[in-house]
Symmetry: C2
Subunit: 105 residues, 2 copies
Amino acid sequence: MYDTQSTFKAIADPTRRAIIGMVADREMTIGEVTDRFNMSRPAIAKHLRVLRDGGLVSVRESGRERFIKFEPSALKDVEQWIEHFSHFWDDKLSKLKAAVEKDEA
Amino acid sequence: MYDTQSTFKAIADPTRRAIIGMVADREMTIGEVTDRFNMSRPAIAKHLRVLRDGGLVSVRESGRERFIKFEPSALKDVEQWIEHFSHFWDDKLSKLKAAVEKDEA
DNA sequence: TTGACATGAAACCATTTGGTTTCCTATATA
DNA sequence: TATATAGGAAACCAAATGGTTTCATGTCAA
């Protein structure tokens, strides 16, 4: 299990957030991700490691390629932390959501 | 105007997230915040500077004291980024949201 | 008005971060 | 089999980060 701190650290970098946006669309190899940045492959590989440590992506090996897949559950944790404060800006939605979650429990 | 990157950076640190939780409850002076951590006052002051740069707190001066106040709107921006991916874990809400947005278009 | 209190600011330090280049290994393919 | 391709790993570097100590400043209160 990854810890929430690693997830916060992972999404703090703009390159990594861009990577998340890409692989959330579809699985991509490390090479494909690298091609979309003006940055060396090892640099991207390091970012991917941080993303994996934060539970935001997983890696599937196939031959000599590694496919990067978005893993959403970690982001959900971050969202839940933010939800603690959402009543500050959105009273209506937060009440609705609380009601929905109560029904599902 | 603060930029979203500063906000992501600000919430990446556990001490700063703890500070947010405290001052969201009520306004606190820098000294009060410091008292709740095993850390020097200048260290806390630095964290508060980062939080202010990220738009997460504001400072009200009163005599020799500075009152730190939580500012929620920056967190809302982070939440909106996460919302881009929320359909991965929350199909019901995402379908509702998509429907609403379609109606509004 | 003198001293205590709340904070700011600067200098310093070790570690982390985000990048590079270079070299190595394994898998496809001509 | 020889070569190109995908990626891993290590060494290195500059800058940013998160902390410290020390000193200066303004405000409150005895």
